[in-house]
Symmetry: C2
């Protein structure tokens, strides 16, 4: 049969045979793509089965076998959407807030729907949000960046100045230090969007901090720290280690090819690869060079790690190696036994991902996952793993080893060191329990 | 001065000194970011100069020195936009249609605003569009992919089937074979959006074609070609070389981390890395294995290269190495002499970018540009080049050499081989003329 036959008949031929047995068609990955589609598919699967198994009956369902409207009509003109949007069928793939997580919605969190995403780039429209006094639409012509402190030439830049300077483009992950924070308290959050969704990754473009500081003439004898300050109402201020800033930090205006989104700091944010998100100061208006940490409100009352002995770790900003299976994950359901492509993300604030392993029995046995290249430093790495589910209970875990040789700890290993009173920097191995009925739940193993 | 001083005073300190002399502030890159901002900045530049040079006068302008409203008020709550959007100040960074290019707007082109973009990823909302009968919103539950022809097991896949299979994620460019096509006819199109804007790049996720064909049991003795067929009204059909398809082609559902956009083939398109865009069949509904090319309407009446002797080249689908400076580019204006970061894109359908060189004198002298890594196969590569403009006329060019050793030709070299009657596969070196008044124009050099 050729395409011309199809076109003349005005019909798609009846399906000769389903690749997967129709009664093995599952919806786990569709649950992964979005909830709306999962629901829609429940109805469609029966129809699909009719098509695949019993074409003679399928003719009874004109809605399935008729050439669909989009194959028979004139479509929409170009630039119907001068700035394109997702399909209306993807309307459930959105950032989501956890109600009650904070006292006000301006100092809250919107989580990235990791269960629905692919690859290593997060669409900018789905990048997670964590604000301290809400987000703002800054007029770029009125925005300035000041560089002051221990420098020979304090200076102020317009956006025009910055856009004219030499730039770099780099893909990096951005993770809130509090990501997976609720898991410290033995609260089993239901979905990966809420357990790990303060995690996103983008290609950032901007001016290296090193270039700005060298041209400002920073004091090479005394300078040890950098203060980054935001222009939003919270006056977010964070101390950055100067060596880290000189190594690979960027004053960024570009994200995934275009200007930053307002929720992500438009027109300017600091990019501090490998370091927790709060240090990537949004709406960046000032960098001050100093010789000691500032101890601002945002690094004393917040973002410290409470330890078992009552002390706290401060300036513990580097995001250690971590991984998570994004599908199958909590809230999804495996409808049938058989093959699944288990997929997830791995990353390390200290370098590249060297290896990802997956266990389906709660960590007793591990096999290597396929790592999608390129594996970039301080970026997300997608992994995939072949698994045939036999219908029995399974405990899915992933663990990453990074280029320093460090391996992601179990929850018990982490708790032995850090206790359970912390909020920040939980990089323990995540466990998803697949029940015999196919339902996937978040559980905490040792 | 610390951040607390600033917060207590309720003001940003007056700017002590501009990094660039205020009267050297230019707007070329802002023109590159968007036209609206360029216009806005004309007013703002005077104010910025006042701030930088004469802080004592700047106090007269409360609109500049007052702490802006966004630093004094409560911002917007999280998930104000469950699916985020660009800043309203970027409203001019959009896809644009070339009026009259085709007889109907459903068989037309929307160009990507390359002059405004950064890095190597194109935002999905700005991906170029080329449709043959308009674009459609397909219900994914009703979409099917058939595999037939010279295979042991013809089969039909639902989206659920496909999403369950092993997947890969890869960053690739996508260029229409007709990109830069008007330049064949000595028509100097004004901007890079219109000369080169049928070019975009994304991270694609999907099932390798090789996996689908191997599981279908394709006829290894006879199979040489693949027919790809779309589900839109045009019934787009293209013959694909089987070796190329088995090498790295993907049946893709994911683009830049989420599902494909409707204009880009939602829910399924073929990805044929390095090959012209028309072969990346959108709304893909069928792959047929065969032993000879099909010679369909879309590969006989269209997408053939008219040669000087009246014959035509057919099935010339591979996009040869090409590069273009995206800023400064046609339609932009350099307001002042001094330093510019010349930036652009390079790519090759045959491999990776090995080297990019830039000339500012129309090709008499060349210097190496900085290539932003990683340089990925059949992907866009961003390059940057330091240039100090002395105020005299300049002729800006870039040329790429790819991993096969092939170097992008001059226009004369290309025309000597291919004449001027063609539409497709113009990969000649592009020239932007910077006039003494700073205006940048598209010119055709030898």
């Amino acid at each position: 049969m050729t395409s011309r036959d199809n076109q003349e008949s005005g019909r798609l031929a009846p399906a000769p045979e389903s690749f997967l047995d129709a009664d093995l068609v599952d919806e786990i990955h569709l649950g992964g793509v979005n909830a709306a589609r999962r629901k829609l598919l429940k109805g469609a699967l029966a129809a699909a089965a009719a098509t695949a198994i019993a074409p003679s009956h399928a003719a009874d369902d004109p809605d399935i076998l008729a050439l669909p409207s989009w194959s028979r009509t004139l479509g929409k003109p170009v630039v119907t959407t001068p700035y394109g949007q997702p399909s209306p069928f993807e309307a459930q793939v959105i950032k989501r807030q956890s109600p009650g997580l904070t006292q006000t919605n301006q100092a809250s969190v919107a989580f990235t729907p990791l269960q629905s995403l692919f690859g290593m780039i997060t669409p900018s429209g789905l990048h997670f949000e964590r604000h301290h006094q809400g987000w703002v639409d800054i007029d770029p012509t009125r925005h300035r960046l000041m560089i002051n402190g221990l420098v020979d030439s304090p200076s102020v830049f317009t956006m025009a100045d910055l856009l004219r300077l030499p730039s770099v483009s780099r893909i990096h992950f951005l993770e809130c230090g509090a990501n997976t924070g609720l898991e410290w308290g033995n609260v089993a959050v239901p979905t990966v969007q809420y357990t790990h969704g303060m995690l996103s990754a983008s290609e950032f473009t901007g001016v290296p901090v090193s270039l700005l500081l060298e041209r400002a003439g920073y004091d090479r004898q005394r300078a040890r720290f950098l203060l980054a300050e935001g222009a939003d109402g919270s006056g977010m201020t964070r101390t950055i280690n100067l060596d880290a800033a000189l190594d690979d930090a960027i004053v960024a205006y570009g994200q995934n090819g275009e200007m930053l989104r307002p929720e992500n700091g438009y027109p300017l944010r600091l990019v501090v690869p490998g370091v927790q998100g709060v240090s990537w100061v949004k709406w960046l208006r000032r960098l001050e060079v100093g010789d000691q940490p500032w101890g601002t409100k945002d690094e004393t009352s917040h973002y410290v790690d409470l330890m078992p002995d009552g002390t706290h770790r401060q300036y513990s900003g580097i995001q250690e190696a971590k991984s998570v299976i994004t599908s199958p994950s909590g809230g999804q359901t495996l409808l049938q036994q058989g093959y699944y492509c288990v997929t997830g993300l791995a990353w390390s604030g200290r370098g590249t991902v060297s290896k990802v392993e997956v266990s389906t029995d709660g960590g007793q046995n591990w096999r290597a996952a396929r790592v999608e290249g390129p594996t970039l430093p301080k970026a997300l790495t997608r992994f995939n793993f072949d698994w045939v589910w036999n219908g029995e209970e399974a405990l899915l875990q992933s663990r990453v080893t990074d280029s320093t040789g460090y391996t992601q700890p179990t929850r018990n290993q982490l708790v032995a060191r850090r206790g359970t009173r912390s909020i920040y920097h939980n990089n323990a191995i995540q466990t998803w329990r697949v029940a015999a009925d196919g339902a996937v739940h978040n559980v905490q193993l040792g």
